[in-house]
């Protein structure tokens, strides 16, 4: 038995936090590593001590295998846990760790090398009797054999969708093989490709396995991770409701068989593609802990990181599969810093507010104040809900997410809520094409008017309180008091839901609120009809942290946080960040009316515009030479040139109008 007293966590973010928490639970001290960008990250606070890795490139920091091993040795570490990603599946690194006489929390280097190669892994799987369709190695440049269409070309060393091509017609196969191989060569340095039947309407089902050094291997059930975007998983659950018990047994037993075949040690995941015709394709083995392991933990009651550590110390697993029990259903969603509505554009910024509703497990590496950059992956947090069945897990997750608020960056939170409410998802009809089949989930979900208005008014009155108590000189009077009233307080508020016009009058017992654009004068001067929604509101409680509003007899508690000019609001039904549109906008007066004038006497040496031309801010209009220097006359905003008053060669005096401009673009 090799006692582990101190563990080096060779990773960052949420998984580093996660591993540290279990290590501490076991009484093991932790050492962490961090790059410059991560120097105040959550994982650095979580570990007992953290060591700095100077440098900008990953090769200098989290992929710096030599340095990491040095740090482990210099800090009296007994073991290294690689987490996932980075060096977790690097067999050479694992080898180096062992040679440095440190314990590697993971399988052996040989197992990593073997199972890391897709083609070798497939061969081993077939040898072990794992149910799967066959795959055939092919070579670019050669005429490929005939296959039943459709097929998929995959790279042996590949991952993340690179080196992959789906082929519908035999005639396109040769080109697909060539281009896939080229892509694989450039991405992984290994151009080997193979062809397998393409399983349509498949589901991504994976089996969690764990083995010890004594030959015991157990499976911990399957997970379904079908909902993916560009091979990045977003929704994961355990168990899967999309396979029959027969298939379950086949793949779980198969996974164990493969593991035993290679005498697999520590945690790993065997991934399959299964469709409704019960066709099974073995995809690959991940020789590490997976991101979505929490759902397995939820339904088995086991701590996988703990199992990894104990197995690595030489402990024995229970020898019987019957000792593993499965209860209930768990769903995990990945909250990422990407905006699905804008083509999944990555979002960067500082996290302002981060609060997850209760009733769920949250695994996160960020907190309020954390910087989100493009340096590392976009995972903000994993949110896991557990229920006695799938329906209950969905309800708990949705409820918690509805009052989850994150601001400072864009996330896929809204999309997640849309999926949870979507019918096919609820019926567990989730093949891997789910997101393509349901583009509507990408649209930002709208709240019902009552909930929308409650959040809006929460923001309005939160700011009203702050302005009134911020040393307002007449703060002793009732808010917005008038002796001759002609209107209420008119404000325009902006949020992800658009623009809202609000007019409110605070009376003694209640508040009159009108929602909607106020009547504007029409051409003849009369006001347009007032079609606004009228609400009777009572503000039952007003404080710096929350407003309790009763709108037309419907009472809601709105939590509010004011950050400079924006108000974050949160209710049981949704969240939103609001900002009040400034009443006034600063306008450059020089731009309008006449136009730029010459700043001093000189000669026009260049006229860069012509009549009717539209100019933008920063465009050079005219150049005047004076005092042996060239003075560029620049447009200060969008405008149209209406006339030019001087030509090159002509003299100008101070204040002479050079060019006449009219605000805005020409018609």
């Amino acid at each position: 038995m090799n006692d582990i007293n101190r563990l080096l966590i060779a990773n960052r973010g949420e998984i580093a936090v996660r591993i540290a928490q279990t290590a501490h639970k076991l009484g093991i001290e932790t050492v962490g590593i961090y790059s410059t960008a991560d120097q105040n990250a959550l994982h650095v606070d979580t570990v007992d001590v953290a060591i700095y890795l100077p440098g900008n490139a990953l090769s200098e920091t989290y992929l710096n295998s030599e340095k990491i091993i040095d740090i482990a040795q210099q800090n009296d570490c007994d073991a290294i846990h690689p987490g996932y990603g980075f060096l977790a599946e690097n067999s050479q690194f694992a080898q180096n760790v062992l040679e440095a006489e440190l314990i590697w929390i993971g399988p052996t280097p040989e197992q990593i090398a073997l199972l890391g190669d897709k083609m070798l892994a497939k061969k081993a799987a077939i040898d072990a009797g794992v149910p799967t369709v066959t795959s055939t190695e092919v070579h670019p440049g050669e005429k490929p054999p005939k296959f039943t269409m459709p097929v998929i070309v995959k790279a042996a060393a590949g991952g993340g969708g690179r080196g992959m091509r789906i082929v519908e017609k035999q005639g396109e196969l040769e080109d697909a093989i060539t281009s896939a191989s080229r892509e694989a060569e450039s991405a992984f340095g290994d151009g080997r490709v193979f062809v397998e039947p393409y399983i349509t309407h498949g589901r991504h089902i994976e089996v969690q396995i764990i083995g010890d050094a004594h030959g015991n291997v157990l499976h911990l059930g399957e997970r379904e991770c079908s909902i993916q975007r560009r091979n990045q998983k977003i929704f994961e659950e355990a168990p899967s409701c999309g396979i029959s018990p027969k298939i379950r047994k086949l793949i779980c037993d198969g996974a164990v068989a493969l593991a035993k075949h290679v005498q697999y040690e520590n945690a790993g995941t065997v991934e399959f593609l299964v469709n409704d015709k019960e066709e099974i394709n073995f995809l690959e083995v991940n020789t590490r802990l997976q991101v979505e392991h929490p759902v397995t933990e939820s339904i088995t009651g086991l701590d996988l990181v703990e199992l990894q550590i104990r197995v690595a110390s030489g402990e024995q697993l229970p020898s019987s599969q019957e000792e593993i029990h499965f209860h209930g259903h768990a769903i995990e969603v990945r909250l990422v810093a990407e905006n699905p509505a804008q083509n999944w554009m990555p979002s960067i910024g500082t996290i302002e507010q981060f609060h997850v509703g209760d009733g769920v497990r949250v695994d996160s590496g960020i907190r309020e104040g954390s910087q989100v950059t493009t340096d590392y992956d976009s995972l903000i947090a994993k949110i896991i809900a557990y229920g006695s069945d799938r329906q209950q897990a969905i309800k708990k997750l949705a409820r918690s997410l509805r009052s989850t608020h994150i601001s400072g960056i864009e996330t896929n939170l809204s999309m997640i809520l849309s999926v949870l409410a979507e019918q096919d998802y609820q019926l567990a009809n989730t093949p891997i094409s789910y997101l393509q089949d349901h583009p509507e989930v990408l649209e930002k979900e709208k709240l019902i008017p009552e909930d929308h208005n409650a959040l809006l008014l929460g923001a309005v009155f939160a700011l009203e309180l702050q302005e009134r108590s911020n040393g307002m000189v007449t703060g002793f009077t009732p808010s917005g008091w008038r002796n001759l009233r002609t209107q209420g307080q008119r404000q325009i508020w902006e949020s992800p839901y658009g623009e809202d016009h609000v007019e409110y009058t605070i009376g003694k017992n209640n508040i009159e609120v009108l929602l909607g654009p106020w009547p504007e004068p029409q051409e003849d001067g009369t006001l347009s009809e007032d079609n606004r929604t009228k609400l009777t509101v009572r503000l039952l409680s007003q404080s710096t942290e929350q407003q309790i509003v009763e709108i037309d007899n419907r009472r809601q508690v709105i939590k509010t946080v004011i950050n400079e000019e924006t108000v974050h609001t949160q209710s049981r039904f949704g969240t939103a960040t609001w900002s009040r549109k400034p009443k006034f906008t600063h306008r450059e007066s020089e731009q309008f009316g006449a136009g730029p004038t010459s700043p001093l006497p000189g000669t026009v040496i260049a006229v860069n515009v012509s009549e009717g031309q539209t100019v933008e801010e920063g465009d050079v209009l005219v150049v005047v030479e004076a005092m042996k220097m060239e003075h560029k006359i620049i447009a200060t905003g969008t405008a149209t040139v209406t006339s030019i008053h001087f030509q090159p060669g002509e003299s100008v005096d101070t204040g002479d109008l050079l060019v006449s401009l009219e605000q805005g673009e020409g018609s």
Partner: protein, 553 residues
């Protein structure tokens, strides 16, 4: 944004607590459920409803047609400009909205005057209402403006002028022209005193009116709207035979680029208001008064009950302290000399944290009351505390006993005190204010900083019945002196007519129409209005008198 508002702020929490525990709190004795109270309440409500109805007419008093036409030109109404100008959620006190009531001129007389908060600073805001007779000023307009400039000067409030006007209503020139020059002198004298004036020109500033922006410290002209010229195109054509268009003659651009009259060119009306706010911001205005120094807790009784506290019929007496109980902080009132001169209630309290000395009538004034009042006023001047005079007074006592007791001599002490007192005075008319009682209580002619009235207020040399009665006696005596028979019917008609005339001339509405006060307020708003008035007062120093006239001892 935190602004240091008060020059010497003293707030000591421990001292406050001590003050609070030792102060005496007024016990109210009114039964608000009684029939009498409910009856009076209904009558007061009716009086207020009439005032409210009149006020409702003011924003569109010029006529809907002109309001629409104004809007069709893309212009904002004056009160819309004010609402856009002031800080959100702040209070706005409009002064003399019913000026001109009972005259030939439209109520409000085409101007807005008020105190509003801009960038955290209480400012005096004057705005022209172009929809009323094209913005042409009548004599009452000028009087209202004059009063407003006085308020701005005495309380030291930055002056914002939202200006546009066609000038004076020419046919009325005899009542406007000669003294009208004062307004331009006022603006520049304000400037000399350190009170800035910011003029935003939304429309024409014609003839003499061009000197409104001319004399202002800061001028903002709205592009294509604001103009200023001493003579318009027709006059220029007539005078010197020059053909010129408005823009070239006096347009916003011309004044901004060429003549130098305009300091800022605004792109549109909102931009003009934005620039005005920007200017107020850079003033870094500091208030000179000590600010609120007392605990500002609410009265123990509901201010809404104030509507029923004073009597709709001013001949019925009521206990003035019921009003104190509903406007003073914590209903705390430290009465001065309570057992002497009981009909004039004097004492100290605070309103919204601002310390105040209050004189209120619980009957007519005798020698004791007059002496006590004079002493109290002197004490408050020594303490630099503003004074609030709550009027419900029909006059001084008459009769030989009073005269022989020196009522005139003692009354003179009171008048000396109110005349030479230099702390700010506030007037709150909660009932009648007749005759010399008005003077003794430091009425309008004694330059109170602000005068506010309740809808039941009456003001005249004496009540209508006594006045008509006196005239009747005089007529009878005269007839008897000539040895003539009296014509009872004629006398009766004359008496009735005279009563009606005086009644009408003493109404709160009449008074406010004549600018004898700064506005009729709803009694329940009293605390808010007095608080706003005091806050404005504290923009200036509060300094008591050190000398008075010779006392007739």
């Amino acid at each position: 944004m935190v602004i240091l508002k008060y020059k010497d702020s003293q707030s000591n929490k421990a001292l406050e607590r001590k003050r609070m525990s030792e102060a005496s709190v007024i016990q109210s004795r009114i039964d608000t459920t009684s029939d009498d109270y409910q009856q009076n309440l209904a009558e007061m409500q009716a009086l207020w409803d009439e005032v409210q109805q009149e006020m409702g007419k003011v924003p569109t008093i010029g006529g809907q047609r002109y309001v629409d036409r104004h809007r069709s030109r893309g212009k904002m109404l004056v009160r819309e400009r004010v609402e856009a100008l002031i800080d959100p959620n702040t209070a706005l006190l409009e002064l003399s909205p019913l000026a001109g009531w009972g005259t030939q001129d439209p109520i409000g007389v085409g101007t807005f005057n008020g105190i509003g908060v801009i960038e955290g600073v209480e400012c005096g805001i004057a705005g022209s209402d172009m929809t009323v007779r094209g913005g042409a000023g009548n004599p009452t307009t000028w009087n209202k403006q004059k009063r407003f400039f006085q308020i701005v000067r005495e309380n030291r409030l930055p002056l914002i002028l939202l200006n546009e006007s066609a000038g004076a209503d020419l046919p009325r020139q005899a009542d406007i022209f000669v003294y009208g020059g004062e307004q331009f002198r006022d603006i520049t004298q304000l400037s000399k005193m350190g009170i800035p004036s910011i003029c935003v020109a939304f429309g024409p500033n014609t003839a003499g009116g061009a000197y409104i922006p001319g004399m202002s410290d800061y001028t903002v002209f709205v592009k294509e709207r604001g103009t200023a010229y001493l003579g318009g195109p027709p006059l220029v054509k007539m005078a010197i035979n020059e053909d010129v268009d408005e823009e070239t003659l006096g347009g916003a651009e011309m004044h901004s680029r060429t003549s130098g009259l305009s300091d800022y060119l605004a792109m549109d009306e909102m931009d003009g208001l934005r620039i005005a706010r920007q200017i107020v911001r850079h003033l870094e205005w500091k208030k000179l008064g000590p600010g609120p120094t007392a605990p500002p807790d609410d009265p123990l009784y509901d201010p809404a009950e104030l509507l029923g506290c004073a009597m709709a019929n001013v001949r019925i007496p009521f206990d003035i302290k019921e009003i104190h109980a509903r406007i003073l902080d914590g209903s705390r009132f430290e009465e001065f000399k309570p057992l002497y001169g009981e009909k004039l209630v004097c004492g100290w309290g605070s309103i919204c944290g601002f310390p105040i000395g209050i004189l209120g009538n619980n009957g007519i004034l005798f020698s004791e009351e007059a002496s006590k009042g004079a002493q109290f006023i002197q004490l408050c001047n020594k303490l630099n505390i503003p004074l609030l005079f709550m009027h419900n007074i029909t006059g001084f006592m008459v009769g030989s006993k009073a005269e022989q007791g020196g009522i005139i001599r003692n009354g003179a002490k009171l008048v000396n005190a109110v005349s030479n007192s230099t702390v700010p005075h506030l007037n709150l008319m909660v009932g009648a204010s007749y005759g010399a009682g008005n003077y003794g209580m430091a009425g309008k002619s004694y330059n109170p900083r602000f005068v506010f009235t309740w809808p039941n207020h009456r003001i005249a040399v004496m009540g209508p019945e006594p006045l008509a009665g006196v005239m009747d006696i005089i007529a009878r005596n005269a007839a008897a002196g000539r040895g003539q028979e009296v014509d009872e019917k004629a006398l009766e008609e004359r008496r009735t007519a005279l009563e009606a005339q005086i009644e009408y001339e003493s109404l709160a509405l009449f008074s406010t129409g004549r600018l004898w006060d700064d506005g009729i307020i709803h009694p329940a708003d009293t605390r808010t209005v007095l608080g706003l008035a005091l806050s404005a007062i504290h923009s200036n120093e509060i300094k008591g008198a050190t000398e008075y006239g010779v006392w007739r001892h």
